[in-house]
């Protein structure tokens, strides 16, 4: 269902160092673009310290919208889009076996329907968590999650101390939440 074989063809459209992104803790930002049958999408891959790669995607038309991660496209292509993220991560992991995979399941905001989803265990988080656990096993990764903030981190077991990486990631999350 989330197979990378079914992923959309993608291309890299942006490459920024941490300095130019102006995002806290981000060492590098790479932006990829792909087109579904209906819409173009962008995937932002943020590289954090400890080789943590965080994936974010949204419709290109919402690029300048502050709530771009919270909006629903209602296109019904979630599985292939997530498969595209997996495909990108696999290429990163091939080059860098210390790479860890992270995501935040953003809460849905639908102002027209006056609906705001709570931030804990969002539906995106539940779906992405299921996808990661179906495809990334426990031999290659140690899995961590924070259900209160809907953040998931799969740390590569090739790292010497996976718990140290999880602790450092927690520290970064706290700083980012406080902002």
């Amino acid at each position: 269902m989330f197979d990378p074989e079914l992923s959309y063809p993608y291309c890299r459209v942006g490459d920024h160092s941490g300095m130019t992104t102006n995002r806290k803790h981000v060492e590098h930002l790479t932006i990829y673009q792909f087109n579904t049958e209906k819409y173009p999408y962008l995937i932002e891959v943020e590289k954090y310290p400890c080789q943590i790669y965080v994936f974010k995607f949204y419709r290109r038309i919402h690029k300048k919208n502050k709530q771009r991660f919270n909006l629903m496209s209602n296109e019904g292509k979630c599985s292939r889009i997530v498969g595209t993220c997996f495909s990108i991560f696999l290429t990163i992991y091939e080059k860098n076996p210390l790479a860890s995979f992270g995501f935040l399941g953003a809460h849905t905001i639908d102002e027209k329907k006056n609906i705001v989803e709570p931030k804990n265990e969002t539906k995106r988080f539940v779906v992405y968590r299921q996808a990661v656990q179906n495809y990334f096993g426990i031999e290659t990764f140690t899995h961590f999650s924070d259900n209160d903030t809907s953040i998931y981190l799969a740390v590569s077991n090739k790292n010497k101390d996976v718990f140290d990486i999880a602790n450092k990631a927690s520290g970064m999350i706290n700083q980012l939440i406080d902002q």
Binding site: N134, Y135, I173
Partner: protein
């Protein structure tokens, strides 16, 4: 398929999701701390039909 259908159900009736944005921000201002998910938990939750991309 039924299981996946449940997962992507837009809004669970048990949760009060019709709160305004400010109320949600106040309610979820918690500290992030990542907890390890045990291998058993992953095995129990994993859908057996899927193959591992990375074991």
């Amino acid at each position: 398929m039924q299981k996946m259908g449940k997962l992507i159900t837009p809004f669970n009736q048990k949760r009060d999701v019709s709160m305004n944005v400010a109320a949600v921000r106040l309610a979820t201002k918690s500290k992030g701390s990542l907890a390890k998910i045990t291998a058993d938990e992953i095995k129990n939750r994993r859908v057996a039909a899927y193959r591992y991309l990375l074991p």
